[in-house]
Point group: C2
Chain length 185, copies 2
DNA sequence: GTCTATAACGTGATAGAC
DNA sequence: GTCTATCACGTTATAGAC
């Protein structure tokens, strides 16, 4: 049951955010009763922390798998950017940055902060490798470029949702890769 | 009073989103009572529509002023991207894409959809001008590049909020301009 | 571990007095 | 136009039985 509660919370946090997710909705989706939920977790924040931590871990594990492959640095970045994502659903971690109650709670906020800090640093490292291997223009700043690329993904979700069209997300990625191509050697 | 209600709703929508904003909070911030609010507006959705429409108009008017200047196309794009923004506060229109109740209501959603559709198209037009004037590489696709640039701004907000540091937003913009620079003639 | 009962408080709105 | 009273319902728990 504990597992079902975490998974249901994860889905609801993804769909509706923290503010928009009630304990009642979690209980209904998971099939757990009030007593069961409050037996396994101290309350909504405690359960949300477990769900957020898991989403953050997932995101990191996936990215690491793609960014640490055996292909060339630039190829790994392309694979990472082009990975199929559910664009209209958005990013389960990124969406939490818009949640005032999550950002106000240091415990809930930490996984969000750490995940993006790690991702930007990790991507900057791969870009630095691409540069040192002569695959990429030396004039490109790895840290700023990495931040811009992660921003394209996060912003791509925003634009795809605004348009109600997943293709807009793909277009943002295409645009980023087009810009990056001009710096490839 | 009508004016104060709209402005207070705009602020709260920006800070807490639609789901996280209650009529009571709006009344307290605006100094209006229940009766006053329900006299001027039919309810929360009606008031939110007025607030959202105004934020969308603002965003469009500002962007148009920068993108239609007399400087060269690439310079205008740089001015637009570098305009000072309250990065930790985020985009008042973009944040609404994460709000399930806004996206589920066609009336509330329309201004969001139209604003970003207009912005992407407008920016693509300026990029096309830059290209036809020989200021920018002919290989760059204007539409995809425009979508990527708008995504960098929207994603920049996400990353800045995640890091709790407005500088991260500036870094995303720097990264985008660095990528664009490689295609300048 | 899970259930039901209970409760204090907030939400979103209506009604009618002033 | 604005105010207070009222209301049905939802939220976020706690308590204790099973």
């Amino acid at each position: 049951m504990r597992e079902r509660l975490i998974e249901s919370t994860r889905e609801l946090l993804w769909e509706r955010g923290y503010v928009g997710t009630s304990p009642k909705a979690i209980q209904q989706r998971s099939g757990a009763g009030q007593g069961s939920m409050y037996h396994h977790f101290r309350g909504k924040p405690d359960l949300a922390l477990a769900a957020i931590a898991r989403s953050a871990d997932d995101m990191r594990v996936r990215a690491e798998a793609e960014l640490s492959g055996s292909a060339s640095p630039l190829q790994r970045i392309t694979v990472y950017l082009r990975r199929e994502r559910d664009a209209l659903r958005g990013c389960p971690v990124g969406r939490l940055t818009q949640d005032p109650d999550v950002m106000a709670d240091p415990e809930l906020r930490r996984p969000v902060e750490e995940t993006f800090a790690w991702l930007r640093t990790r991507l900057a490292g791969v870009l630095a490798d691409a540069r040192s291997q002569g695959e990429l223009d030396a004039s490109l700043d790895p840290a700023a470029t990495a931040t811009a690329l992660v921003a394209v993904l996060q912003g791509g979700y925003v634009l795809a949702r605004a348009a109600g069209d997943a293709e807009v997300y793909a277009q943002a990625v295409d645009g980023a890769l087009g810009l990056l191509a001009g710096h490839a050697r």
